[in-house]
């Protein structure tokens, strides 16, 4: 067999680049996965419960039953992602052994480690992680994340936190690009980010990995908003299968993500969708109900 190098940074980050401009949808069974694929999802996230149901169920949220993940993997030809708890090495290794295409080290699940994230560079499978600001983004990349998503507030159907987080990351990148090189070490210290990555972001003028938006996308207009704020694509968790007509919402959100600046078309595809998921006002969440606070 000819020489092949697996699990390289280029191969792991490259996979995320192929997802750009697309929608990644949460699904809890094979049937939903097929609906997502037919609607034009670029990947599905296999879960036991969507985030809004995790909120309702309470208790400890863990990696999904491997049987569900396997069913989803067998049902569709698009990539399948799955979530592991923050710092849960064994859940991550189990998912890797199953051949899932991407692991989300996710604050939607109850963290397994309140101090350390996974050393993601150790794995062949690529990881996506959440971030709320540039420091958090670069810490995750430093650990080996190949893709990021701004966290938002999962399971709320409220876009406000997703907007806050992508604006924060973007504005910190703008500030960084105006810094002179002799200011970078202090900047790195202040945001708690690895110096080498701060230098790289300054040179590139952008993050070195793909960055999707997540946590609150409920309508085609929400998806378009995140794209216009500079997201490379969107994750939709509860927004599709907690809406009145999941197939229509799924297709409309896919089209909106591609055509995010075509407002007449956005108006057209937003008609006749039925009710979106019911949202939650963020200020009504208790501090310990805010999933975005998980991660360090």
């Amino acid at each position: 067999m000819s020489k092949r190098t697996i699990g390289s940074e280029r191969v792991k980050r490259g996979m995320a680049k192929m997802q750009k401009g697309g929608v990644i949808m949460d699904v809890v069974n094979a049937e939903q996965a097929k609906i997502a694929e037919a609607a034009g999802a670029v990947a599905v996230m296999a879960l036991e419960r969507v985030p809004s149901d995790i909120r309702k169920a309470g208790g400890v949220a863990r990696m999904a039953n491997p049987k569900i993940i396997e069913e989803v993997m067998n049902a569709v030809s698009i990539p399948v992602m799955a979530k592991a708890r923050i710092g849960h090495i064994s859940e991550a290794r189990i998912l890797e052994s199953m051949g899932v295409d991407y692991i989300d080290e996710s604050e939607v699940l109850t963290p397994a480690d309140e101090e350390f994230h996974l050393l993601k560079s150790d794995y062949v499978v690529p990881f996506v992680c959440g971030c709320r600001d540039l420091g958090e983004a670069l810490r995750r990349i430093g650990e080996g994340a190949s893709m990021l998503r701004t966290k938002g507030e999962p399971g709320t159907g409220n876009i406000v936190e997703a907007v806050r987080h992508i604006r924060k990351v973007n504005s910190q990148i703008s500030v960084l690009s105006t810094k002179s090189n002799d200011e970078l070490m202090t900047f790195a210290r202040d945001i708690g980010a690895p110096y080498e990555l701060v230098k790289e972001v300054k040179e590139l003028g952008k993050l070195p990995v793909v960055n999707f938006a997540a946590g609150g996308v409920a309508t085609p207009a929400d998806a378009a908003l995140m794209m216009s704020l500079g997201a490379d694509g969107v994750f939709v968790g509860s927004g599709i299968f907690k809406s009145e007509s999941p197939e229509k919402f799924a297709r409309a959100i896919v089209r909106a993500t591609t055509n995010y600046e075509d407002y007449a078309l956005l108006a057209e595809i937003s008609k006749d969708l039925g009710e979106p998921m019911k949202g939650i006002e963020i200020s009504h969440l208790q501090q310990d109900e805010r999933m975005q606070e998980r991660g360090w």
Binding site: M1, G14, M18
Partner: protein
Amino acid sequence: MAITIGVLAVQGAVREHLLALKVLGVKAVSVKKAEDLEGLDGLIIPGGESTAIGRLIREQGLEDRLHSFHKEGKAIFGTCAGLILCSTDKSHKTDDLRLGFIDMEVERNGFGRQVASFETSLNFEGIDQEVEAVFIRAPYIQSVGPDVKVLATFDGKIVAAEQDNVLVTAHHPELTEDYAVLNYFLDKIGK
């Protein structure tokens, strides 16, 4: 000769192709709608998810225009998902879009899932040096018709081919700084 190349921009690694074209000093534009193809000398169909791109080609009203673009003899280059979309792939069982520009059957995800994705170097017909090749959940070409020229194989599987004005690769030249395959494509337009 100043040429303009379009990159199909409904989903996938669009920016990487636009940047590579820019590095080579070629004018590059994004193509989202049928009218965006006017005046172009060639089109790149990028990597992404072939099911999503195929669905969006139809919904954007691009399918017929892509066929006429092909019939006009304009150059087309498909990478990975683009390869799948350019195939005839008569044996595929779904109603996923196949444009049929190259007479070939394709095995989607033929090299396996993401954990099996890899990089290597390839001998490429018509290019003197080995080319850097990144394969991501890549397809391979199972069989080709009589008018198709095979350009590269890996472990006995066909991974690059051309038929008339259409070039396809299972790997992603746009993820590397090796521009040999892109130059090969641009030379086709010069002919």
